[in-house]
């Protein structure tokens, strides 16, 4: 099966299209945006490459740093919640009967078959003041009053004079909720992949040797699923950081995150160089986090003598 190595023609035929694709449609556009970030805007459509650092300097103003911090906070909250919700789901699926597994996984993947925009609009219908959640609560409120009036307490208005809908939409809660909803499958799938490969005999050994269920879970299962946790966290956190749709549609007056600012630079503000600089800062930070993780995990391995 090594023969393809000795057949350069075959190698090129197979290898060239994806390489060309990567270069033409990924690296070249990315390179252009990178050049934009060092350019100056001259008038309405003219952009001149001057190797200026002004765009980056502008990003370091406190106003934008604050927005960066807020974005990291929101993406971080999203990731933590997705992990807390996703881990039990992945754990349950990996212990489900083999026949049920594909169906359960299908349920996780199913939302992907609907367009993101439509799913987000559906959330609006669920969360708004006259949405399904509040309709449900109002129904409960009515029932509660009915029960109270049966008990002869109807006149006291124990549940309040009238039903007050919960303000679930147009705030930061709604944005994080929307992000978790959209990115949960990104968390569940790598966790499932890690948990499914896990050698069950370790758990049995732990239980046999006297550790309780909880201790076995935290001392055995979690450490062994670490690789899945790390990749789940990364592929949830990074897109959550760059997602502007949720804060646009579900957010309130104070839900602006850096992705919204970037989007605006490319559209209404018509300032591509600055938008490019902001997106690259986001990308540098992400690379930095990934590199840091690589260094840290290597340090761990050295310490453990592996």
């Amino acid at each position: 099966m090594e023969s393809w190595r000795r057949n350069p023609l075959f190698f090129w035929i197979v290898g060239l299209p994806p390489t060309l694709w990567l270069v033409l449609f990924f690296l070249v556009p990315l390179g252009l945006i990178w050049l934009f970030s060092f350019s100056d805007k001259r008038g309405i459509i003219d952009i001149e490459l001057t190797w200026t650092l002004a765009n980056y300097a502008r990003s370091l103003e406190w106003l934008y740093l604050e927005i960066f911090l807020k974005s990291f906070w929101m993406a971080g909250a999203t990731t933590v919640i997705a992990l807390l919700v996703g881990f039990p789901i992945a754990f349950a699926i990996s212990f489900a009967p083999p026949k049920a597994k594909p169906w359960l996984l299908l349920l996780i993947i199913l939302p992907f078959w609907t367009n993101l925009l439509i799913r987000t609009y559906a959330l609006i219908a669920v969360l708004r003041s006259r949405g399904f959640v509040n309709f449900g609560l109002e129904w409960l409120w009515d029932q509660g009053n009915w029960v109270l009036s049966l008990a002869g307490l109807g006149g006291y208005q124990l549940l309040g004079e009238r039903f007050e809908p919960l303000e679930l939409l147009y705030n930061n809660f709604a944005v994080v909720f929307g992000l978790v909803y959209v990115f949960l499958p990104f968390m569940v799938l790598p966790l499932y992949a890690a948990l499914d490969r896990l050698d069950r005999s370790y758990i049995e050994a732990s239980l046999d040797l006297g550790a309780g269920q909880l201790r076995s879970f935290f001392s055995v299962v979690v450490p062994m699923a670490k690789a899945g946790v790390v990749s789940g966290v990364i592929i949830t956190f990074i897109p959550a950081l760059g997602s502007f749709l949720q804060s646009d549609l579900l957010g309130g007056p104070d839900s602006q995150i850096i992705a919204n600012v970037i989007e605006r630079q490319f559209k209404s503000a018509n300032d591509w160089p600055y938008g490019a600089a902001l997106s690259f800062i986001l990308m540098y930070l992400t690379f930095f986090a990934l590199a840091l993780r690589a260094v840290l995990s290597r340090g761990n391995r050295d310490a453990e003598g592996l």
Partner: protein, 357 residues
């Protein structure tokens, strides 16, 4: 009797799917100019009369191939790197201006557009296009306040209710468009919509930041839906969007505040490099015809700048305050003009700070 109308799509919102072609084939007539009898028209969705293009073909033998765009950004992006073959486009005034400054439009031959005489005097000239050298007016409209009559005291005919009062706290939606919002805030403070003085812009910023706690949401051009579903009772929106929901709910209304507002204008223009400029002129002239113009206005229900066409329309259209604000109010309205990169940045930085506040 009211004629049946197709439900109008929101012209300014994102529309999926483009690419419609005018139907109807008749044999080309002979004896026309050297140009082949075709004109490539790049237009908004649902923004032409039902039979306008067929009628034009019957009258001139020129076939119109219409392609659709969803917003100005799309139109601009498509033509930015060179004209892919369009003869006639419909940019909104601020983009018309941008395209003129960038050399993306070619001057019109007014001799070929005698129907320009039909255009009302107010639209015969424009600040963004002096002497109408590059563009003809097609339709226009305003920015104002859409509101729910039963939940608001009287007519909220001042920007005060959305910018400078807590009377309707938690029931207000703004629009997420930096230039527009800063412009009308400047207007409320008595400055020009296009003010460039940093102190005036700062005053508008302070006004909006102070009002922010009273907001429900800064909407993505879906204020009309928020009104319709009862999420808010006052929304800053385009008149066309509010008109659309008024048809579904009698309790909704629209007003242009007395301090004046933003007035927009969609224009007919020929991009440089158009393959059939002569046919494009003929189509422009046809669209400015009184009867053709009236048929379009009747179908799409936007305000026509065509005086002769307006006179042919019924009172329900001519006197609809959501379509035509009073002359007095209109006199205080301004169109957005491009005032340079420095101003652009001041406005956008202010808007970022407002949203972050």
């Amino acid at each position: 009797m009211k004629k049946y109308r197709m439900p109008r799509l929101n012209r300014r919102s994102f529309l999926a799917g483009t690419g419609a072609v005018a139907a109807g084939l008749t044999l080309p007539r002979f004896g026309h100019a050297a140009e082949e009898p075709v004109v490539n028209f790049y237009n908004w969705d649902t923004y032409i009369g039902e039979t306008t293009l067929d009628d034009f073909q019957d009258a001139t033998g020129i076939e119109v191939k219409m392609d659709l765009f969803a917003d100005n950004d799309e139109l601009f992006a498509k033509l930015k790197e060179g004209n892919p073959g369009y003869d006639l486009i419909v940019p909104t005034n601020d983009f018309t201006e941008r395209m003129i400054l960038a050399g993306m439009l070619q001057p019109l031959d007014h001799g070929m557009i005698p129907n320009f005489a039909n255009v009302s005097e107010a639209f015969q000239d424009a600040e963004f296009d002096p002497k109408r050298k590059y563009s003809m007016p097609y339709m226009w409209g305003t920015m104002g306040i859409g509101y729910r009559k039963s939940r608001v005291d009287g007519v909220p005919d001042s920007w005060e209710w959305v910018f400078d009062s807590d009377k309707y706290a938690g029931r207000i939606a703004w629009l997420s468009e930096s230039g527009t919002m800063m412009g009308i805030a400047l207007k409320y403070l008595g400055y020009s919509l296009n003010a460039t003085d940093p102190a005036e812009i700062a005053a508008a910023e302070a006004l909006l930041i102070k009002q922010k706690p009273n907001l429900k949401v800064i909407a993505e051009d879906n204020g009309q839906d928020l009104l319709l579903s009862g999420e808010v009772d006052l929304a800053i929106e385009w008149n066309g969007d509010i008109l659309q929901v008024q048809e579904e709910d009698d309790d909704l209304a629209y007003v242009v505040p007395k301090e004046g507002s933003l007035v927009w204008q969609d224009t007919l223009a020929i991009p440089t490099g158009a393959p059939h400029p002569e046919n494009a002129h003929k189509l422009i002239n046809y669209l400015l015809d009184a009867e053709a113009g009236a048929a379009i206005a009747d179908f799409i229900q936007y305000a026509t700048p065509n005086q002769a066409a307006r006179e042919l329309m019924d009172a329900a259209y001519r006197e609809n305050p959501s379509i035509f604000p009073s002359d007095q109010t209109l006199a205080k309205c301004e169109a957005q003009i491009y005032a340079g990169e420095d101003r652009q940045r001041l406005i956008n930085d202010a808007w970022t700070r407002i949203q972050a506040a």
